[in-house]
């Protein structure tokens, strides 16, 4: 773990965009008084002609971005995920996704990153809302490597993309980042046959910590960074469903409609071995031990991001305990 070098994914977003903008004058960043929270002030200073400010007006932010993209600009529309994917949801649905304007919609300080600022500033609905919208890739990079790759790939992809970033420094998940990063291909961080922990965004790191803790009790976990929520890597899901006894999903999102339910839906329709029906998996090997860890459907507990994570078991101990209880250990 390169803990000393851990940066917030948002910082990596900003520096990567600056690197890319040096060679591409068509890159445009659009902000809604969000250049500070998006760590984009340096971008704006270096590339003032590639930065459009619309003020605090998220619907307009997305509509204007769609117009810019339709005229050939490579647009990153950046605003806190809570406002961007709720207030401007119709603009994302119609102006970006339905009209197929390849805007990179970037939700910053996502999930419960804003902690004690409360539910107005939390985005626990964005995966659910955007999963139900056709023609947009939905991704939450976990570490600095994934962030950098996701931005480069989003730039090359002539397609609507939603990227979701938190603001906490994120340690590297692997010592060697030699993988190929592709949207729709989950990243296997460690492999083990007892349980698969499928996490996304800033919850992958505690999932990895939980796997290390479980190893001390001779439980071998596979940890997957499922950075792309849509399209979901169902091939990888099938692989772990065949070999592991249990699957636990972890996300900084409502338990309703996010990564967990996306996995559950696919498993229910494709992998369950139900008495009297034929499993698509040889021998019906997987019995369906499954648990979604996320934010429950209640008034979210108050406190910092870490307080909220701890409260709902989105940490090393909580994830490990969930695995143990599923496996009856």
């Amino acid at each position: 773990m390169e803990k000393g070098k851990a940066k917030a994914n948002l910082d990596v977003f900003s520096t990567t965009l600056q690197e890319l903008a040096e060679h591409d004058r068509d890159i445009v960043v659009v902000t809604s008084d969000s250049r500070g929270s998006g760590k984009l002030a340096p971008f704006g200073q270096r590339f003032p002609e590639q930065h459009i400010e619309v003020g605090i007006a998220e619907q307009n932010l997305v509509g204007v971005s769609a117009g810019l993209a339709s005229a050939g600009k490579k647009v990153f529309a950046v605003s806190p995920a809570c406002f961007l994917t709720a207030r401007a949801l119709e603009q994302i649905k119609n102006d970006v996704a339905y009209s197929d304007n390849p805007v990179k919609v970037v939700g910053i300080s996502a999930g419960v990153s804003y902690g004690a600022l409360g539910s107005t500033h939390h985005s626990l609905h964005d995966f659910a809302a955007l999963r139900a919208i056709n023609n947009i890739i939905v991704a939450a990079p976990a570490d600095n490597f994934e962030t950098k790759q996701a931005i480069k790939l989003a730039l090359e992809t002539n397609h609507p993309v939603y990227l979701r970033f938190g603001k906490k420094p994120m340690p590297s998940l692997k010592e060697e980042n030699d993988d190929v990063f592709e949207f729709g291909k989950g990243r296997v961080i460690v492999e083990g046959d007892d349980v698969a922990i499928i996490a996304t965004g800033e919850t992958v790191f505690p999932a990895l910590q939980a796997a290390n803790k479980l190893k001390e009790q001779n439980i071998a976990a596979t940890v997957i960074s499922m950075h792309t929520i849509k399209p979901l890597d169902t091939a990888l899901l099938a692989t772990v469903a065949q070999k592991c006894k249990a699957i636990v999903t972890v996300e900084e999102h409502s338990v309703n409609g996010g990564l967990g339910e996306a996995c559950a839906s696919w498993l229910l329709q494709n992998a369950f071995s139900i008495a009297g029906s034929e499993s698509r998996f040889p021998g019906g090997a997987w019995g369906g031990l499954f648990k979604i860890i996320g934010i429950p459907d209640e008034y979210t507990v108050t406190g910092s991001q870490q307080d909220i994570f701890n409260h709902y078991g989105i940490n090393e101990e909580g994830i490990a305990d969930t695995v143990l209880s599923l496996l009856n250990k």
Binding site: I52, G55, A66, S99
Partner: protein
């Protein structure tokens, strides 16, 4: 195109709007008839848009924010040769691209619209891109007066002015009626001109059925350097068919066979009476 030629075109367009709405048994009749003269002048006199240049980055752009008046747009696009007019026989039919709002699956349509309050922000972005690239194209967007309460319009109006988008022209089809009743009674937006002027726009009023005035107004763009342009076109909902004019039920009313034939006769008579010196 002369005013007389435009007038004759509009009669043909109105007949086609009614034809396809009648055959589809669906459509937004009143609003299509109120804005058709505007589209006629834009496509036949003002804008540099044709099937030949539609992929060119330098073409003018037309984005119809009041997407429900799609029949007017389809009839004009067919006339301009973007697709065979026969295609419109599939309007609103199973698997047809010719649905009740503009979609880019139809050649000649710039943006998918239908939800109100979306055209202006997209147009602002498109006009902004022209300024950033030093391109000369202009962006025209048609709004309904009933959609003005959508807040996104006013957000976009601010941005247009902030970035001095004098290459943007918004046109309000001010027919003064919406599905519930007179716009002034549903949510009074008057004075529209003073509101936009206070937002930094240059505003002109025009009779939206007077070809001479329409040509003159659009030829005068930009009205003021560095200011976005607004044309408030005073129109009549259902214009051209006397029993539809200013009658709310024709917002999306479909004529019966008898009503359809009566409307065609009235329009044919109008064709005969277009004066030579128009």
């Amino acid at each position: 195109m002369t005013e007389k030629e435009l007038a004759i075109k509009s009669v043909e367009y109105r007949k086609n709007i009614l034809k396809y709405i009648f055959h589809a048994n669906a459509g937004h009749t009143g609003g299509s008839l109120s804005c058709i003269d505007l589209l006629n002048v834009l496509y036949n006199h003002v804008m540099n848009i044709s099937p030949a240049n539609f992929k060119s980055p330098d073409r003018d752009r037309y984005i119809q924010s009041k997407g429900h008046s799609v029949e007017a747009l389809f009839v004009v696009l067919a006339d301009k040769g973007f697709f065979p007019e026969l295609d419109l026989h599939t309007l609103c039919k199973y698997r047809s691209h010719y649905i009740g709002h503009p979609t880019r699956k139809v050649n000649g349509v710039e943006q998918n619209t239908g939800a109100l309050g979306h055209g202006l922000p997209i147009s602002v972005g498109t006009a902004l891109a022209a300024k950033m690239d030093n391109k000369k194209y202009r962006v025209f967007t048609l709004l309904g007066d009933g959609e003005l309460p959508e807040g996104s319009n006013w957000e976009a109006a601010l941005t247009a002015s902030h970035y001095k988008l004098d290459n943007l022209c918004a046109i309000i089809d001010h027919n003064k009626l919406q599905i519930t009743g007179p716009t002034s009674e549903v949510c009074n937006t008057h004075p529209i001109d003073a509101k936009f002027e206070s937002f930094g726009w240059a505003v002109r009023h025009v009779d939206g059925h007077n070809f001479e005035q329409l040509k003159e107004i659009f030829d005068a763009i930009p009205f003021a350097e560095g200011k976005p342009n607004l044309v408030i076109a005073h129109t009549i909902k259902g214009k051209g068919v006397s029993y539809m004019e200013n009658v709310i039920k024709w917002h999306h009313g479909v004529p019966s066979e008898k009503q359809y034939e009566d409307a065609l006769s009235e329009l044919d008579n109008a064709m005969v009476t277009v004066p030579d010196d128009f």
